[in-house]
């Protein structure tokens, strides 16, 4: 297989945006083209768009073609949309990677976009129920928070994890987001604020949850030859893995504090990348809820099973620790525009490994990991490096 690298990345402002679905595509696309000299829209051969529910939020399907036209791209080798709920963006990056590695394409944009906020917030929340099984789960009013609450309760019962430790994830990620001008939230948060915020689904409080956010992100993925011609600092895709345990809650591991599919996806990515967990300088993990980040520490091998609470409390997932987790602010701080999230994670690794992350730069970062999930039993992991594998 050919080597593949990121050569450009850009994101829109994330938040409750006064912007249309297409406005968000324009913002991220423009920022992405601006990030790399020497590429104009006509140079891009392929486009993959990760987007979950524009049929509901913008009454629009036929997304890849609509976005290509908005971006000025005329795809000649690849045009596709990926929908894998919250992991749609990373699934799109894997498609671009595979096409380029196989020699079927040389230069592909992957864009993730979601316009979740609606004139009625009730409708925005109702739409989120499309991500769980309609007939057997969503018909009861289920959305994501109670699912992850089950995992948090189990982790607390089994390992003694505390509400305060869950709260520290919220504090860390809100604090990181305060250094990211594109984040949904910019004010930071204290532990008192996090633990005093309203209960969503016990034990998960508002500041331990990602909000409903509009946003878009884009990266340009290139073959080795094109990458080296375009930039002296490509960010190489070294490894990738994806694994699923199941879709419905009742199909997953009986103990919701254990996510074996994440471990399988991570092991595949580490093996392919030729790196170990201790080699990772920064990780963009899928903290849709604080408990998800904590279980990710464990399944990604940053700490032992059950030790995530102590890991975050000791600052080992923050600047100066073992690995900086979610330097851009994560989903809790940046928000979670579903299809855009995985691409925004890649965009953060891109600037970090090039030393362009400004006040949130992780010192001497050479290996970055992204973890994107679409439920507790479905995980995608990417490993990037400043040098190829």
């Amino acid at each position: 297989m050919r080597k593949v690298a990121l050569v450009g990345a850009g994101i829109s402002k994330f938040g409750v945006r006064r912007a249309s679905y297409r406005d968000l595509i324009w913002e991220a696309g423009k920022a992405c083209f601006d990030s790399v000299a020497g590429i104009k829209p006509r140079d891009v051969e392929g486009l993959v768009v990760g987007s979950v529910m524009p049929e509901r939020t913008a009454f629009q399907s036929h997304i890849s073609s609509m976005a290509a036209e908005a971006l000025g791209i005329k795809p000649s080798v690849l045009s596709a949309r990926t929908e894998h709920m919250c992991a749609s963006g990373t699934v799109g990056i894997r498609y671009a990677y595979a096409f380029i590695a196989a020699g079927l394409a040389d230069l592909v944009m992957v864009l993730g976009v979601e316009k979740l906020n609606q004139p009625s917030s009730d409708e925005a929340i109702l739409n989120m129920g499309t991500g769980v099984d309609r007939e057997w789960e969503a018909a009861f009013g289920l959305t994501a928070p109670p699912c992850f609450a089950l995992a948090a309760q189990r982790h607390m019962a089994e390992y003694g994890t505390t509400e305060e430790q869950l709260g520290l994830v919220g504090v860390k990620n809100h604090t990181h987001a305060s250094k990211n001008p594109n984040a949904h939230f910019g004010k930071g948060a204290t532990l008192e604020q996090v633990l005093g915020s309203r209960m969503i689904a016990s034990p998960l409080r508002l500041f331990m949850c990602s909000p409903i956010t509009d946003g878009a992100a884009a990266v340009i993925v290139a073959s080795e030859e094109r990458a080296r011609a375009l930039t002296d600092r490509p960010v190489w895709i070294r490894g990738t893995g994806q694994a699923l345990d199941g879709f419905q809650l009742t199909s997953l591991h009986e103990d919701y504090a254990h996510w074996p599919a994440l471990k399988r996806a991570a092991d595949a990515a580490y093996t392919m990348a030729g790196v170990r967990p201790g080699d990772v300088d920064l990780a963009e993990v899928h903290d849709c809820f604080a408990i998800a980040e904590m279980i990710a520490y464990e399944e990604l091998g940053f700490c032992k099973k059950g030790e995530a609470g102590a890991f975050v409390a000791a600052g080992r997932s923050d600047y100066g620790g073992d690995v900086v987790v979610n330097p851009r602010g994560g989903l809790i701080g940046c928000g979670h525009p579903l299809g855009a999230t995985g691409v925004a994670q890649a965009a953060e690794v891109f600037v970090q490994l090039r030393g362009q992350a400004g006040p949130r730069q992780v010192a001497d970062a050479t290996i970055g990991l992204t973890h994107n999930n679409s439920g507790m039993g479905e995980h995608v992991v990417m490993i990037y490096g400043s040098e190829p594998a």
């Binding site: 009861f140 609450a149 016990s202 009742t250």
Partner: protein
């Protein structure tokens, strides 16, 4: 169009279409309406799944019979959601994974004080009538309630 009655759009209907016109699982719902929780059993390999299936994930056979599951189970896991529920659903709402025989069934607990729900608690089936479908057919969901 102004002034005409608004068509009932499916796009905001949170409940499945349960009638024979729309699902091969209509027999499940007919049994549920009669107070029975049932599922499919593969007559080729004998495997029983929850929820009911269209063909067997073990042997790929599609010869099924309907079998009743126990009407009583135990709480395997639960959580209460207070706020942020989808439109039309009110908190506090107790979501539960109920162990019914060998199966885990996702549902809600009706008439349950969230503060008094516990792991291992015995609960029984209580079919929940929800909004009729756009053609007026009654619809039911498999909910549970604490056993007396």
């Amino acid at each position: 169009m102004a002034g005409d009655p608004v068509t009932y759009f499916r796009a905001t209907d949170p409940f499945p279409l349960e009638s024979a016109d729309f699902t091969k699982l209509h027999e499940f719902y007919a049994r549920l309406a009669a107070g029975r929780l049932s599922t499919t059993r593969c007559t080729d390999c004998g495997r029983t799944d929850w929820p009911p299936r269209g063909f067997c994930p073990e042997c790929a056979g599609d010869a099924f019979e309907w079998v009743d599951l126990p009407a009583e189970g135990t709480v395997h896991a639960f959580t209460t959601q207070d706020t942020g529920l989808p439109a039309g659903f009110e908190g506090p709402r107790v979501f539960a994974i109920v162990k019914v025989g060998a199966h885990r069934v996702f549902s809600i607990l009706l008439d349950a004080d969230p503060a008094r729900v516990s792991i291992g608690q015995r609960v029984r089936l209580k079919p929940l009538a929800v909004a009729a479908d756009p053609k007026g057919n009654p619809r039911w969901l498999p909910a549970f309630t604490p056993s007396a």
